[in-house]
Amino acid sequence: MDSFILRQRITQGVIHLILIVASITMIVPFAWMFLTAFKTLSESTAINPFVIFPSSWKFDNFLTVWKSYNFLYLYRNTLLMIFFRVVCAVLTATMAGYAFGRLNFPGKNLLFSLILVQMMVPSQIFIIPQYMMVANMKALNTMFALVFPGLVTAFGTLLLKQAYQSLPKDMEEAANIDGCNIGQRFLLIMAPLTRSAMVSLGIFTAVFAFKDLMWPMIVCSNATSTTLSAGLAKMQGQYASNYPELMAAALMACLPMIVIYLIYQKQFIEGIATSGGKL
């Protein structure tokens, strides 16, 4: 029995060791971003001796970056883009998901198969025509351009359809007897029941809108109209070797999302797991 407990202890120890090594690997790049953001340029490029901690914790790099890279605009644009994309995705997907999951109408299966086709196609194939539409509308460098590809979502429709299908049937029938029409039934009874799927889709949409790089680079090339991701790419192109400033910018770009994630990590992880599991 003792040897059994000993073996258990050793197993636990080995597992923790592996998990700790993995954790360190995950954290080091973030830590290095953080430490470098506070260094002076010469500290960041010193090799003999190699400098790990900055000699003083000044916010100079952050202030420089804030002023010279229009960070206020980048935050505003990213926030608004995420907001509009989440609202559009949740709204349209909830409606379409309800129709596909709960209603019967001729051509339903055909239309739904189009949703599945869209999900099989790599998104790069849409980009040139989408760009040309935005350009023809004279909408380059606008908020509309940033939101445009996210107005509707095939994936979200699938997600919400499955959520509606998993709801019990009798609930709706009770409402039917009460004399609600389909619109009222959807709005008052069914839609609130899929709140967790809506939250999942919202988080998923927000995270991927935030991470998207190519689209904002293409349609919003102005420094004041673009997003954090594309802004970082622009900065790196212009000031490739001032690492403390670049790391300050990268940290500022990532920090809001990381803080929100740390506060709502349960919702984030569940949201991504349930929606990512269906992608």
Partner: protein, 302 residues
């Protein structure tokens, strides 16, 4: 006798008509959006691939299959395709294997479980642009963290022989937590009875993993494998952000989507870009088809 069903049928159809009306009303925004944003663009991209493009899509000259001939006979597309597959060959298996091990560990009763989970998932909420920037700095040959910590002098991202591995390492680092979360939710669906039965049979640890966990998790593994292969073949952010235009290793790292981006939006040769992306579409659909066809061989369903 004959009138009654007719009346009933009419009533049914009125109700059904009402339902269909609401159905159409609810799917119209999404379907309209998909047609404008996705289906028309697919056709338009294919159409464009037969044209030599002037600026902003004006002055299109029909060139027939000329774009396809030059894409498929040149070395650039094939080279980028090889690079992309090489990237996928590292990113996919490593990110899946590591994620699987971590998920199995975190599925046990273990101290700091949620703390570990939070840490592993962290890269998922960071912008790839920012991630690429810090890795690029860590990879710096002179004053980067890696060479200084390990006392090496490796040209991580400018040696053509290893640059693609370095890029793929960032890819693994970025995606491993995401895969792990998907595996964790798959693991939680495996009934405990199976493990108890395995315990009674004396199968523990590694044997339990191969006898119980792996087969029962195979639907999830197959799903993750499929999405990761497709995802890895579309890699763009990492090579774009890490590799400078002047980097000599760029030709051995640039991905298909990277080359597509260059032609479509840097050189403004949209017809050529469209051709590249149509070729990529064919390859991705072929891979999807093969994976679907072979699914039964890989996956164990109860």
């Amino acid at each position: 006798m004959t009138a009654k069903p007719a009346v009933k049928k009419q009533k049914m159809s009125k109700w059904a008509k009402n339902e269909a009306m609401w159905g159409y009303l609810f799917v119209i925004p999404t379907m309209l959006g998909l047609f404008v944003l996705n289906f028309y663009p697919i056709i338009q991209t294919i159409y464009q691939s037969f044209f030599k493009t002037g600026d902003f899509g004006r002055g299109n000259i029909f060139v027939g299959l000329q774009n396809y001939i030059s894409v498929l006979s040149g070395s650039e597309f094939w080279g980028s395709l090889v690079n992309t597959f090489k990237y996928a060959l590292i990113e996919v298996p490593f990110s899946i294997a590591i994620a699987l091990v971590l998920a199995v560990f975190l599925n046990r009763k273990i101290l700091f479980r949620s703390g570990y989970r939070t840490i592993f998932f962290l890269p998922m909420v960071a912008a790839p642009a920012a991630v690429a920037m810090v890795w690029k700095f860590m990879y710096n040959q002179q004053f980067g963290l890696l060479n200084n910590i390990f006392g090496t002098n490796i040209a991580w991202i400018s040696d053509p022989k290893i640059a693609w591995i370095s890029i793929a390492v960032i890819g693994v680092w970025s995606i491993v937590g995401y895969n792990m979360i998907l595996f964790l939710s798959g693991l939680q669906e495996i009934p405990h009875d199976y493990y108890e039965a395995a315990d009674i049979d004396g199968a523990t640890g590694v044997r339990q993993f191969f006898a119980v966990t792996l087969p029962l998790l195979s639907p999830t593994i197959f799903f993750v494998l499929q999405t990761r292969i497709i995802g890895a073949l579309q890699v763009f952010d990492l090579p774009f952000m890490v590799m400078d235009k002047s980097n000599q290793a760029l030709p051995s790292v640039q991905s298909v989507v990277y080359v597509f981006y260059q032609y479509a939006f840097t050189y403004n040769n949209r017809g050529y870009g469209a051709t590249i992306v149509v070729c990529m579409l064919v390859i991705i659909l072929a891979i999807t088809f093969i994976l679907q066809k072979t699914e039964k061989k890989w996956v164990f369903y109860n």
